[in-house]
Amino acid sequence: MGWHAFEQHTSDVQVRVDAATLVDLFTEAGRALAEIIGTPAGVPSGAWRRVSVDARDRDALLVAWVNELIARTEIDDQLYTEIEVVDLTATRLDARIRGVPIAETRTPVKAATMHGLQIGAGAGGVSATLILDV
Protein backbone atom coordinates (compact mmCIF):
# COMPACT_ATOMS: atom_id res chain seq x y z
CA MET A 1 0.00 0.00 0.00
CA GLY A 2 1.29 3.48 -0.84
CA TRP A 3 0.19 7.08 -1.00
CA HIS A 4 1.60 10.32 -2.38
CA ALA A 5 1.31 14.08 -1.94
CA PHE A 6 2.49 17.05 -3.98
CA GLU A 7 4.78 19.51 -2.21
CA GLN A 8 5.85 23.09 -2.85
CA HIS A 9 8.37 23.66 -5.67
CA THR A 10 8.67 26.96 -7.56
CA SER A 11 8.92 25.64 -11.11
CA ASP A 12 8.64 21.87 -11.21
CA VAL A 13 6.64 19.12 -9.52
CA GLN A 14 7.83 17.75 -6.18
CA VAL A 15 6.08 14.60 -5.06
CA ARG A 16 6.49 12.80 -1.74
CA VAL A 17 5.77 9.10 -1.90
CA ASP A 18 5.17 6.96 1.20
CA ALA A 19 4.62 3.22 1.33
CA ALA A 20 4.77 0.20 3.59
CA THR A 21 7.37 -1.54 1.43
CA LEU A 22 9.84 -0.68 -1.31
CA VAL A 23 7.74 -2.56 -3.86
CA ASP A 24 4.77 -0.40 -2.89
CA LEU A 25 6.96 2.74 -3.04
CA PHE A 26 8.02 2.06 -6.62
CA THR A 27 4.44 1.18 -7.60
CA GLU A 28 3.08 4.35 -5.99
CA ALA A 29 5.71 6.51 -7.71
CA GLY A 30 4.41 5.19 -11.04
CA ARG A 31 0.81 5.94 -10.06
CA ALA A 32 1.74 9.48 -8.98
CA LEU A 33 3.38 10.06 -12.36
CA ALA A 34 0.23 8.98 -14.21
CA GLU A 35 -1.85 11.34 -12.05
CA ILE A 36 0.46 14.25 -12.87
CA ILE A 37 0.43 13.60 -16.59
CA GLY A 38 -3.29 13.36 -17.18
CA THR A 39 -6.66 11.71 -17.00
CA PRO A 40 -7.03 8.14 -18.31
CA ALA A 41 -9.67 7.40 -20.91
CA GLY A 42 -11.12 4.46 -19.00
CA VAL A 43 -9.56 1.37 -17.48
CA PRO A 44 -6.74 -0.64 -19.09
CA SER A 45 -7.93 -3.77 -20.82
CA GLY A 46 -5.15 -4.52 -23.30
CA ALA A 47 -2.02 -6.60 -23.05
CA TRP A 48 0.50 -6.18 -20.26
CA ARG A 49 3.95 -4.88 -21.22
CA ARG A 50 7.05 -6.15 -19.45
CA VAL A 51 9.52 -3.51 -18.29
CA SER A 52 12.98 -3.93 -16.75
CA VAL A 53 15.33 -1.22 -15.52
CA ASP A 54 18.62 -1.28 -13.69
CA ALA A 55 20.80 1.29 -11.94
CA ARG A 56 23.78 1.47 -9.66
CA ASP A 57 21.80 1.97 -6.43
CA ARG A 58 18.28 2.21 -5.10
CA ASP A 59 17.87 5.98 -5.47
CA ALA A 60 19.07 5.87 -9.07
CA LEU A 61 16.79 2.88 -9.68
CA LEU A 62 13.73 4.89 -8.64
CA VAL A 63 14.72 7.68 -11.06
CA ALA A 64 15.42 5.17 -13.85
CA TRP A 65 12.02 3.52 -13.26
CA VAL A 66 10.07 6.78 -13.39
CA ASN A 67 12.07 7.89 -16.44
CA GLU A 68 11.20 4.61 -18.14
CA LEU A 69 7.50 5.30 -17.54
CA ILE A 70 7.86 8.89 -18.77
CA ALA A 71 9.44 7.73 -22.03
CA ARG A 72 6.97 4.87 -22.54
CA THR A 73 4.03 7.23 -21.93
CA GLU A 74 5.31 9.66 -24.55
CA ILE A 75 6.24 7.04 -27.15
CA ASP A 76 3.15 4.85 -26.73
CA ASP A 77 0.74 7.74 -26.08
CA GLN A 78 -0.60 5.69 -23.18
CA LEU A 79 -1.10 6.48 -19.51
CA TYR A 80 0.24 3.53 -17.50
CA THR A 81 -2.19 3.30 -14.60
CA GLU A 82 -1.79 -0.41 -13.81
CA ILE A 83 1.59 -1.38 -12.45
CA GLU A 84 2.77 -4.68 -10.97
CA VAL A 85 6.32 -4.88 -9.65
CA VAL A 86 7.37 -8.47 -10.25
CA ASP A 87 10.86 -8.38 -8.78
CA LEU A 88 12.88 -5.68 -7.04
CA THR A 89 16.48 -5.65 -5.85
CA ALA A 90 18.73 -2.74 -4.91
CA THR A 91 19.83 -2.36 -8.54
CA ARG A 92 17.13 -3.93 -10.73
CA LEU A 93 13.37 -3.77 -11.17
CA ASP A 94 11.12 -6.01 -13.27
CA ALA A 95 7.52 -4.98 -13.71
CA ARG A 96 4.38 -5.39 -15.81
CA ILE A 97 2.51 -2.28 -16.86
CA ARG A 98 -0.76 -1.72 -18.65
CA GLY A 99 -2.03 1.55 -20.06
CA VAL A 100 -4.93 3.42 -21.61
CA PRO A 101 -5.09 6.41 -23.95
CA ILE A 102 -4.88 9.85 -22.30
CA ALA A 103 -8.29 11.53 -22.18
CA GLU A 104 -6.90 14.90 -21.10
CA THR A 105 -3.28 15.90 -20.59
CA ARG A 106 -2.68 17.69 -17.32
CA THR A 107 1.10 18.25 -17.14
CA PRO A 108 3.59 16.84 -19.65
CA VAL A 109 6.64 15.55 -17.75
CA LYS A 110 10.16 15.78 -19.22
CA ALA A 111 12.13 13.69 -16.71
CA ALA A 112 12.64 12.60 -13.12
CA THR A 113 15.65 14.12 -11.35
CA MET A 114 18.14 12.98 -8.71
CA HIS A 115 17.96 16.37 -6.99
CA GLY A 116 17.62 15.91 -3.25
CA LEU A 117 16.41 12.35 -3.69
CA GLN A 118 16.92 9.89 -0.87
CA ILE A 119 14.81 6.84 -0.21
CA GLY A 120 14.59 6.49 3.55
CA ALA A 121 12.51 5.34 6.46
CA GLY A 122 9.11 7.01 6.70
CA ALA A 123 6.20 6.96 9.10
CA GLY A 124 4.46 4.19 7.19
CA GLY A 125 7.61 2.27 6.25
CA VAL A 126 9.60 3.95 3.48
CA SER A 127 9.41 7.32 1.76
CA ALA A 128 11.02 9.31 -1.03
CA THR A 129 10.76 12.85 -2.37
CA LEU A 130 11.12 13.11 -6.11
CA ILE A 131 11.37 16.25 -8.27
CA LEU A 132 10.04 15.98 -11.82
CA ASP A 133 10.94 18.47 -14.55
CA VAL A 134 7.73 19.62 -16.23
Partner: protein, 473 residues
Protein backbone atom coordinates in the same frame (compact mmCIF):
# COMPACT_ATOMS: atom_id res chain seq x y z
CA UNK B 1 23.69 25.08 5.48
CA UNK B 2 21.79 28.32 4.92
CA UNK B 3 22.78 30.95 2.39
CA UNK B 4 22.04 34.62 2.01
CA UNK B 5 22.86 37.42 -0.42
CA UNK B 6 24.62 40.65 0.49
CA UNK B 7 24.53 43.76 -1.74
CA UNK B 8 28.00 44.67 -3.07
CA UNK B 9 27.15 47.07 -5.91
CA UNK B 10 24.00 48.51 -7.50
CA UNK B 11 21.88 45.55 -8.68
CA UNK B 12 24.58 43.06 -7.64
CA UNK B 13 24.69 40.72 -4.64
CA UNK B 14 27.28 38.30 -3.32
CA UNK B 15 26.32 34.84 -2.08
CA UNK B 16 27.42 34.05 1.46
CA UNK B 17 26.98 31.05 3.74
CA UNK B 18 25.76 31.07 7.33
CA UNK B 19 29.28 31.85 8.56
CA UNK B 20 29.18 34.90 6.25
CA UNK B 21 31.85 33.44 3.98
CA UNK B 22 31.68 34.48 0.31
CA UNK B 23 30.84 31.56 -2.02
CA UNK B 24 32.13 32.58 -5.47
CA UNK B 25 28.68 33.45 -6.72
CA UNK B 26 26.96 36.71 -7.61
CA UNK B 27 23.33 37.50 -8.22
CA UNK B 28 21.93 40.38 -10.26
CA UNK B 29 18.76 41.65 -8.60
CA UNK B 30 17.13 44.49 -6.71
CA UNK B 31 15.67 44.43 -3.20
CA UNK B 32 12.34 42.97 -4.24
CA UNK B 33 13.75 40.34 -6.59
CA UNK B 34 16.44 39.17 -4.15
CA UNK B 35 13.71 38.73 -1.53
CA UNK B 36 11.79 36.48 -3.93
CA UNK B 37 14.96 34.60 -4.90
CA UNK B 38 15.81 34.04 -1.22
CA UNK B 39 12.45 32.45 -0.46
CA UNK B 40 13.09 29.17 -2.29
CA UNK B 41 16.18 26.94 -2.70
CA UNK B 42 17.80 29.04 -5.46
CA UNK B 43 20.70 30.28 -3.31
CA UNK B 44 21.48 26.78 -2.00
CA UNK B 45 21.45 25.44 -5.56
CA UNK B 46 23.72 28.27 -6.76
CA UNK B 47 26.10 27.47 -3.89
CA UNK B 48 26.15 23.82 -4.99
CA UNK B 49 27.14 24.96 -8.49
CA UNK B 50 30.30 26.56 -7.06
CA UNK B 51 31.51 23.06 -6.12
CA UNK B 52 31.89 22.02 -9.78
CA UNK B 53 35.54 21.07 -10.44
CA UNK B 54 37.39 23.61 -12.56
CA UNK B 55 34.90 26.42 -11.95
CA UNK B 56 36.19 29.61 -13.55
CA UNK B 57 35.65 32.72 -11.44
CA UNK B 58 32.17 33.11 -10.04
CA UNK B 59 28.83 31.45 -10.74
CA UNK B 60 26.06 33.91 -11.58
CA UNK B 61 22.38 34.17 -10.80
CA UNK B 62 20.20 36.19 -13.13
CA UNK B 63 17.34 38.40 -11.82
CA UNK B 64 14.74 35.83 -12.95
CA UNK B 65 16.46 33.07 -10.96
CA UNK B 66 14.32 30.50 -9.15
CA UNK B 67 14.78 27.00 -7.82
CA UNK B 68 15.12 24.17 -10.27
CA UNK B 69 17.13 20.97 -9.78
CA UNK B 70 20.93 20.82 -9.93
CA UNK B 71 21.53 24.35 -11.23
CA UNK B 72 18.90 26.92 -10.32
CA UNK B 73 16.96 28.20 -13.32
CA UNK B 74 18.71 31.46 -14.25
CA UNK B 75 22.12 30.06 -13.32
CA UNK B 76 25.39 30.56 -15.22
CA UNK B 77 28.73 28.88 -14.54
CA UNK B 78 31.86 28.31 -16.61
CA UNK B 79 34.60 25.75 -16.24
CA UNK B 80 38.11 26.30 -17.56
CA UNK B 81 39.38 24.01 -20.31
CA UNK B 82 40.99 21.60 -20.68
CA UNK B 83 40.41 20.15 -17.20
CA UNK B 84 37.04 21.69 -16.28
CA UNK B 85 33.88 19.60 -16.25
CA UNK B 86 30.69 19.58 -18.25
CA UNK B 87 27.48 18.91 -16.33
CA UNK B 88 24.20 18.01 -18.08
CA UNK B 89 22.43 19.40 -14.98
CA UNK B 90 23.88 22.80 -15.89
CA UNK B 91 21.95 22.77 -19.14
CA UNK B 92 18.77 20.98 -18.15
CA UNK B 93 16.54 18.44 -19.82
CA UNK B 94 15.17 20.82 -22.44
CA UNK B 95 18.46 21.27 -24.28
CA UNK B 96 18.61 24.53 -26.28
CA UNK B 97 15.16 25.60 -25.26
CA UNK B 98 15.08 29.09 -26.69
CA UNK B 99 13.25 31.97 -28.27
CA UNK B 100 12.86 33.13 -31.86
CA UNK B 101 11.39 36.47 -32.96
CA UNK B 102 9.82 37.16 -36.36
CA UNK B 103 9.11 40.75 -37.38
CA UNK B 104 6.49 41.91 -39.88
CA UNK B 105 5.42 45.11 -41.58
CA UNK B 106 1.80 44.25 -40.79
CA UNK B 107 -0.02 47.04 -38.97
CA UNK B 108 -2.35 46.25 -36.09
CA UNK B 109 -5.29 47.59 -38.11
CA UNK B 110 -4.66 44.97 -40.80
CA UNK B 111 -4.18 42.18 -38.29
CA UNK B 112 -7.12 42.82 -35.94
CA UNK B 113 -9.96 41.80 -38.30
CA UNK B 114 -8.12 38.49 -38.84
CA UNK B 115 -6.91 37.97 -35.25
CA UNK B 116 -9.28 35.17 -34.22
CA UNK B 117 -8.86 33.30 -37.51
CA UNK B 118 -5.07 33.57 -37.52
CA UNK B 119 -4.59 32.53 -33.89
CA UNK B 120 -7.02 29.66 -34.35
CA UNK B 121 -5.22 28.55 -37.50
CA UNK B 122 -1.84 28.74 -35.70
CA UNK B 123 -3.20 26.50 -32.94
CA UNK B 124 -4.44 23.99 -35.52
CA UNK B 125 -1.28 24.07 -37.61
CA UNK B 126 1.33 23.83 -34.86
CA UNK B 127 0.77 20.92 -32.47
CA UNK B 128 1.18 21.62 -28.76
CA UNK B 129 1.01 19.69 -25.50
CA UNK B 130 2.02 16.07 -25.26
CA UNK B 131 3.33 13.88 -27.95
CA UNK B 132 3.82 13.94 -31.60
CA UNK B 133 3.03 15.73 -34.81
CA UNK B 134 4.47 13.61 -37.59
CA UNK B 135 4.68 16.85 -39.58
CA UNK B 136 7.75 15.37 -41.25
CA UNK B 137 8.46 11.74 -41.91
CA UNK B 138 12.02 11.46 -40.62
CA UNK B 139 13.78 8.21 -41.31
CA UNK B 140 17.02 7.50 -39.50
CA UNK B 141 19.28 9.11 -42.11
CA UNK B 142 17.16 12.23 -42.35
CA UNK B 143 17.06 12.61 -38.57
CA UNK B 144 20.85 12.24 -38.51
CA UNK B 145 21.15 15.05 -41.06
CA UNK B 146 19.09 17.34 -38.85
CA UNK B 147 20.97 16.33 -35.70
CA UNK B 148 24.28 17.18 -37.33
CA UNK B 149 23.12 19.88 -39.76
CA UNK B 150 20.42 21.72 -37.80
CA UNK B 151 18.46 24.42 -39.61
CA UNK B 152 20.68 24.29 -42.69
CA UNK B 153 19.64 20.69 -43.35
CA UNK B 154 15.99 21.56 -42.85
CA UNK B 155 16.10 24.55 -45.22
CA UNK B 156 18.24 22.94 -47.92
CA UNK B 157 16.52 19.55 -48.00
CA UNK B 158 12.95 20.45 -47.06
CA UNK B 159 12.60 24.06 -48.17
CA UNK B 160 11.43 24.90 -44.64
CA UNK B 161 12.58 28.50 -44.52
CA UNK B 162 14.80 31.05 -46.21
CA UNK B 163 18.60 30.76 -46.61
CA UNK B 164 18.95 34.23 -45.08
CA UNK B 165 17.32 32.93 -41.89
CA UNK B 166 20.55 31.10 -41.09
CA UNK B 167 22.54 34.29 -40.66
CA UNK B 168 20.42 35.40 -37.72
CA UNK B 169 20.25 32.17 -35.75
CA UNK B 170 22.76 31.61 -32.95
CA UNK B 171 25.61 29.59 -34.40
CA UNK B 172 24.05 29.79 -37.86
CA UNK B 173 21.38 27.31 -36.70
CA UNK B 174 23.90 24.50 -36.35
CA UNK B 175 26.37 23.76 -33.58
CA UNK B 176 29.51 22.21 -35.04
CA UNK B 177 30.70 18.98 -33.51
CA UNK B 178 27.26 17.44 -33.09
CA UNK B 179 27.36 13.65 -32.97
CA UNK B 180 24.20 11.87 -34.09
CA UNK B 181 25.76 8.56 -33.05
CA UNK B 182 25.80 9.75 -29.42
CA UNK B 183 22.00 10.11 -29.45
CA UNK B 184 20.27 6.96 -28.20
CA UNK B 185 17.56 4.97 -29.94
CA UNK B 186 15.19 5.94 -27.12
CA UNK B 187 15.88 9.65 -27.71
CA UNK B 188 15.26 9.21 -31.44
CA UNK B 189 12.03 7.34 -30.77
CA UNK B 190 10.78 10.14 -28.51
CA UNK B 191 11.92 13.05 -30.65
CA UNK B 192 11.57 12.12 -34.31
CA UNK B 193 7.76 12.42 -34.46
CA UNK B 194 7.87 15.72 -32.54
CA UNK B 195 9.75 17.98 -34.94
CA UNK B 196 7.64 21.11 -35.43
CA UNK B 197 5.78 20.95 -32.11
CA UNK B 198 5.60 23.40 -29.22
CA UNK B 199 5.35 20.91 -26.35
CA UNK B 200 3.83 21.84 -22.99
CA UNK B 201 4.77 23.68 -19.79
CA UNK B 202 5.74 27.28 -20.35
CA UNK B 203 6.26 26.93 -24.10
CA UNK B 204 4.18 29.18 -26.32
CA UNK B 205 3.74 30.99 -29.58
CA UNK B 206 2.62 34.58 -29.31
CA UNK B 207 1.42 37.15 -31.85
CA UNK B 208 2.44 40.51 -30.49
CA UNK B 209 2.16 44.24 -31.04
CA UNK B 210 5.36 46.28 -30.91
CA UNK B 211 4.14 48.61 -28.20
CA UNK B 212 7.14 50.77 -27.27
CA UNK B 213 10.48 51.53 -28.90
CA UNK B 214 13.24 52.52 -26.46
CA UNK B 215 16.10 52.78 -28.96
CA UNK B 216 14.92 53.92 -32.40
CA UNK B 217 18.22 53.40 -34.22
CA UNK B 218 18.70 49.88 -32.87
CA UNK B 219 15.05 49.00 -33.52
CA UNK B 220 15.41 50.12 -37.13
CA UNK B 221 18.42 47.85 -37.65
CA UNK B 222 16.47 44.94 -36.12
CA UNK B 223 13.49 45.74 -38.36
CA UNK B 224 11.15 46.57 -35.47
CA UNK B 225 8.66 49.39 -35.83
CA UNK B 226 6.13 50.65 -33.26
CA UNK B 227 2.60 49.56 -34.14
CA UNK B 228 3.69 46.55 -36.22
CA UNK B 229 2.99 42.88 -35.52
CA UNK B 230 5.65 40.38 -34.42
CA UNK B 231 5.65 36.67 -33.56
CA UNK B 232 7.60 35.11 -30.69
CA UNK B 233 8.20 31.34 -30.50
CA UNK B 234 9.41 29.68 -27.28
CA UNK B 235 10.19 25.95 -27.36
CA UNK B 236 13.10 23.51 -27.31
CA UNK B 237 14.37 20.06 -28.25
CA UNK B 238 11.27 18.17 -27.08
CA UNK B 239 11.53 14.51 -26.04
CA UNK B 240 14.77 14.04 -27.95
CA UNK B 241 16.59 16.56 -25.79
CA UNK B 242 14.92 15.33 -22.60
CA UNK B 243 16.15 11.81 -23.28
CA UNK B 244 19.69 12.92 -24.23
CA UNK B 245 19.99 14.60 -20.84
CA UNK B 246 18.48 11.60 -19.02
CA UNK B 247 20.85 9.16 -20.78
CA UNK B 248 24.04 11.13 -20.18
CA UNK B 249 23.25 12.15 -16.60
CA UNK B 250 23.11 8.48 -15.80
CA UNK B 251 26.43 7.83 -17.51
CA UNK B 252 28.09 10.70 -15.64
CA UNK B 253 26.54 9.72 -12.31
CA UNK B 254 28.18 6.33 -12.71
CA UNK B 255 31.49 7.62 -14.09
CA UNK B 256 32.31 10.67 -11.97
CA UNK B 257 33.77 8.67 -9.07
CA UNK B 258 36.49 7.42 -11.43
CA UNK B 259 37.57 11.05 -11.82
CA UNK B 260 37.52 11.66 -8.07
CA UNK B 261 34.50 13.95 -8.31
CA UNK B 262 32.23 14.25 -5.29
CA UNK B 263 29.34 16.73 -5.38
CA UNK B 264 26.64 17.85 -2.95
CA UNK B 265 23.88 17.07 -5.49
CA UNK B 266 23.75 14.02 -7.81
CA UNK B 267 21.80 16.08 -10.36
CA UNK B 268 25.03 18.04 -10.93
CA UNK B 269 26.77 14.84 -12.09
CA UNK B 270 29.69 15.68 -14.36
CA UNK B 271 32.96 14.49 -15.84
CA UNK B 272 35.87 16.43 -17.33
CA UNK B 273 34.95 17.82 -20.72
CA UNK B 274 38.04 16.12 -22.11
CA UNK B 275 36.95 12.67 -20.85
CA UNK B 276 35.24 10.16 -23.18
CA UNK B 277 31.98 10.67 -21.26
CA UNK B 278 32.30 14.46 -21.48
CA UNK B 279 33.06 14.41 -25.18
CA UNK B 280 30.20 12.04 -25.93
CA UNK B 281 27.73 14.19 -23.98
CA UNK B 282 29.00 17.35 -25.71
CA UNK B 283 28.39 15.74 -29.11
CA UNK B 284 24.91 14.53 -28.11
CA UNK B 285 24.00 17.86 -26.49
CA UNK B 286 25.00 19.71 -29.67
CA UNK B 287 22.90 17.28 -31.73
CA UNK B 288 19.90 17.95 -29.46
CA UNK B 289 20.58 21.69 -29.74
CA UNK B 290 20.47 21.38 -33.53
CA UNK B 291 17.18 19.53 -33.24
CA UNK B 292 15.83 22.45 -31.16
CA UNK B 293 16.97 25.00 -33.76
CA UNK B 294 15.28 22.89 -36.45
CA UNK B 295 12.14 22.59 -34.33
CA UNK B 296 11.81 26.37 -34.05
CA UNK B 297 12.66 26.70 -37.76
CA UNK B 298 9.87 24.34 -38.81
CA UNK B 299 7.40 26.08 -36.52
CA UNK B 300 8.42 29.48 -37.96
CA UNK B 301 8.01 28.10 -41.49
CA UNK B 302 4.47 27.02 -40.69
CA UNK B 303 3.71 30.35 -38.99
CA UNK B 304 4.74 32.06 -42.21
CA UNK B 305 2.35 29.78 -44.07
CA UNK B 306 -0.55 30.71 -41.80
CA UNK B 307 0.09 34.44 -42.19
CA UNK B 308 0.38 34.04 -45.97
CA UNK B 309 -2.97 32.20 -46.09
CA UNK B 310 -4.77 34.98 -44.24
CA UNK B 311 -2.91 38.14 -45.20
CA UNK B 312 -1.18 37.31 -48.47
CA UNK B 313 2.28 36.05 -49.37
CA UNK B 314 3.65 39.58 -49.70
CA UNK B 315 3.36 40.04 -45.93
CA UNK B 316 6.75 38.48 -45.21
CA UNK B 317 7.76 37.46 -41.70
CA UNK B 318 11.45 38.23 -41.32
CA UNK B 319 13.54 36.40 -38.74
CA UNK B 320 15.10 38.87 -36.28
CA UNK B 321 17.12 36.33 -34.25
CA UNK B 322 16.94 32.93 -32.57
CA UNK B 323 18.80 32.31 -29.33
CA UNK B 324 18.84 29.43 -26.84
CA UNK B 325 18.80 29.67 -23.05
CA UNK B 326 19.64 26.08 -22.01
CA UNK B 327 23.08 25.30 -23.42
CA UNK B 328 26.77 24.77 -22.77
CA UNK B 329 29.02 26.56 -25.25
CA UNK B 330 32.78 26.60 -25.66
CA UNK B 331 33.67 30.29 -25.60
CA UNK B 332 36.76 32.42 -25.29
CA UNK B 333 36.54 35.02 -22.52
CA UNK B 334 39.70 37.14 -22.25
CA UNK B 335 42.62 34.73 -22.40
CA UNK B 336 40.60 31.74 -21.26
CA UNK B 337 38.86 28.92 -23.13
CA UNK B 338 35.75 28.12 -21.16
CA UNK B 339 32.76 25.80 -21.18
CA UNK B 340 29.93 28.19 -20.28
CA UNK B 341 26.81 26.52 -18.87
CA UNK B 342 23.66 28.61 -19.14
CA UNK B 343 20.52 27.12 -17.65
CA UNK B 344 17.60 29.48 -18.06
CA UNK B 345 20.02 32.24 -19.06
CA UNK B 346 20.68 33.87 -22.42
CA UNK B 347 24.00 34.54 -24.08
CA UNK B 348 24.34 38.31 -24.64
CA UNK B 349 27.41 39.34 -26.59
CA UNK B 350 28.15 43.07 -26.82
CA UNK B 351 28.62 45.25 -29.93
CA UNK B 352 32.36 44.51 -30.24
CA UNK B 353 31.92 40.71 -30.35
CA UNK B 354 33.19 38.97 -33.48
CA UNK B 355 30.47 36.33 -32.98
CA UNK B 356 27.67 38.64 -34.11
CA UNK B 357 25.98 38.15 -37.47
CA UNK B 358 27.23 40.61 -40.10
CA UNK B 359 23.84 42.34 -39.99
CA UNK B 360 24.25 43.16 -36.29
CA UNK B 361 27.98 44.02 -36.14
CA UNK B 362 28.57 46.92 -33.81
CA UNK B 363 25.03 46.64 -32.51
CA UNK B 364 25.11 43.78 -29.99
CA UNK B 365 23.46 40.39 -29.87
CA UNK B 366 19.66 40.45 -29.69
CA UNK B 367 18.17 38.97 -26.52
CA UNK B 368 14.48 38.21 -26.05
CA UNK B 369 12.94 38.24 -22.60
CA UNK B 370 9.41 36.83 -22.67
CA UNK B 371 7.13 37.88 -19.87
CA UNK B 372 4.37 35.73 -18.46
CA UNK B 373 1.26 35.04 -20.51
CA UNK B 374 -0.69 38.25 -20.97
CA UNK B 375 2.17 40.57 -20.01
CA UNK B 376 4.92 42.23 -22.05
CA UNK B 377 8.06 40.77 -23.59
CA UNK B 378 11.27 42.69 -24.23
CA UNK B 379 13.85 42.91 -27.00
CA UNK B 380 17.29 43.80 -25.68
CA UNK B 381 20.87 44.01 -26.97
CA UNK B 382 23.91 42.71 -25.12
CA UNK B 383 26.50 45.20 -23.80
CA UNK B 384 30.26 44.66 -23.90
CA UNK B 385 30.38 45.06 -20.11
CA UNK B 386 28.42 41.78 -19.73
CA UNK B 387 31.55 39.98 -20.91
CA UNK B 388 33.38 40.60 -17.64
CA UNK B 389 30.38 41.00 -15.33
CA UNK B 390 28.29 37.91 -16.17
CA UNK B 391 30.18 35.85 -18.77
CA UNK B 392 28.11 37.64 -21.40
CA UNK B 393 24.83 36.36 -19.97
CA UNK B 394 21.47 37.84 -19.06
CA UNK B 395 18.06 36.60 -17.93
CA UNK B 396 15.75 34.40 -20.03
CA UNK B 397 12.32 35.52 -18.89
CA UNK B 398 10.36 36.87 -15.96
CA UNK B 399 11.06 33.85 -13.74
CA UNK B 400 8.53 31.89 -11.75
CA UNK B 401 7.71 33.04 -8.26
CA UNK B 402 4.68 30.87 -7.51
CA UNK B 403 4.51 27.07 -7.58
CA UNK B 404 2.12 25.52 -10.11
CA UNK B 405 -0.16 24.18 -7.38
CA UNK B 406 -0.30 27.57 -5.69
CA UNK B 407 -1.06 29.27 -9.02
CA UNK B 408 -3.95 26.87 -9.63
CA UNK B 409 -5.34 27.51 -6.16
CA UNK B 410 -5.14 31.27 -6.68
CA UNK B 411 -6.29 31.55 -10.30
CA UNK B 412 -9.23 29.88 -12.07
CA UNK B 413 -8.22 28.97 -15.61
CA UNK B 414 -11.59 29.79 -17.16
CA UNK B 415 -11.65 33.21 -15.48
CA UNK B 416 -8.12 33.96 -16.65
CA UNK B 417 -9.11 32.98 -20.18
CA UNK B 418 -12.08 35.37 -20.04
CA UNK B 419 -9.98 38.17 -18.56
CA UNK B 420 -7.36 37.85 -21.30
CA UNK B 421 -10.07 37.82 -23.98
CA UNK B 422 -11.59 40.97 -22.46
CA UNK B 423 -8.17 42.63 -22.77
CA UNK B 424 -8.12 41.80 -26.47
CA UNK B 425 -5.82 38.77 -26.23
CA UNK B 426 -6.98 35.66 -28.07
CA UNK B 427 -5.96 32.52 -26.18
CA UNK B 428 -5.73 28.98 -27.47
CA UNK B 429 -4.97 26.45 -24.74
CA UNK B 430 -6.74 23.11 -24.47
CA UNK B 431 -6.60 22.97 -20.67
CA UNK B 432 -7.84 25.60 -18.21
CA UNK B 433 -5.65 23.92 -15.57
CA UNK B 434 -2.49 24.45 -17.61
CA UNK B 435 -3.61 27.99 -18.35
CA UNK B 436 -3.87 28.73 -14.62
CA UNK B 437 -0.38 27.32 -14.00
CA UNK B 438 1.05 29.95 -16.34
CA UNK B 439 -0.99 32.88 -15.00
CA UNK B 440 0.77 36.25 -14.80
CA UNK B 441 0.63 36.05 -10.96
CA UNK B 442 2.91 33.00 -11.09
CA UNK B 443 5.78 35.08 -12.48
CA UNK B 444 7.90 38.03 -11.44
CA UNK B 445 7.32 41.43 -13.03
CA UNK B 446 9.19 41.21 -16.35
CA UNK B 447 9.63 44.99 -16.58
CA UNK B 448 11.38 44.91 -13.19
CA UNK B 449 13.62 42.01 -14.23
CA UNK B 450 14.62 43.85 -17.40
CA UNK B 451 15.32 47.05 -15.47
CA UNK B 452 17.78 45.15 -13.27
CA UNK B 453 19.58 43.86 -16.37
CA UNK B 454 19.80 47.44 -17.66
CA UNK B 455 20.82 48.83 -14.25
CA UNK B 456 23.59 46.25 -13.94
CA UNK B 457 24.85 47.28 -17.37
CA UNK B 458 24.46 43.82 -18.94
CA UNK B 459 22.14 44.78 -21.81
CA UNK B 460 20.05 47.68 -23.10
CA UNK B 461 16.37 47.90 -23.98
CA UNK B 462 15.24 48.18 -27.58
CA UNK B 463 11.52 47.41 -27.70
CA UNK B 464 8.59 46.21 -25.63
CA UNK B 465 6.06 43.81 -27.15
CA UNK B 466 2.55 43.09 -25.87
CA UNK B 467 0.46 40.02 -26.73
CA UNK B 468 -2.52 39.98 -29.08
CA UNK B 469 -2.78 36.21 -29.44
CA UNK B 470 -1.34 33.30 -27.45
CA UNK B 471 -1.07 29.64 -28.42
CA UNK B 472 0.00 27.91 -25.25
CA UNK B 473 2.00 24.72 -25.28
Amino acid sequence: MKFHAVPIAPFEYELRDDADRARHARIFADDELIAAISRDRSLEQLANVTSLPGLYGDAYGMPDMHEGYGFPVGGVAATALPDGVISPGGIGFDINCGVRLLATEIERAAFEPNRERIVHDLSRTIPSGYGRSNLMALDRDELDRILEGGCRALIERHDAGLPEDLEVIEGGGCLDGARANAVSERARERGAPQLGTLGGGNHFLEVQLIDTIFDAAAAERLGLRAGAISVLIHTGSRGLGHQVCTDHLRVMDEAQARYGIVLPDRQLACTPLSSPEGQRYLGAMRAAANFAFANRQLIAHRVRGVFARHLGAARALRLVYDVGHNTAKLERHGDHELCVHRKGATRAFGPSSSELPARYRGLGQPVFVPGSMGTASHVMLGNDSAETRSLASVCHGAGRVLARGAAKRRVAGHELRRELEQRGITVRCASNTELAEEAPEAYKDVDRVVDVVVGAGLARKVARLVPLGVVKG
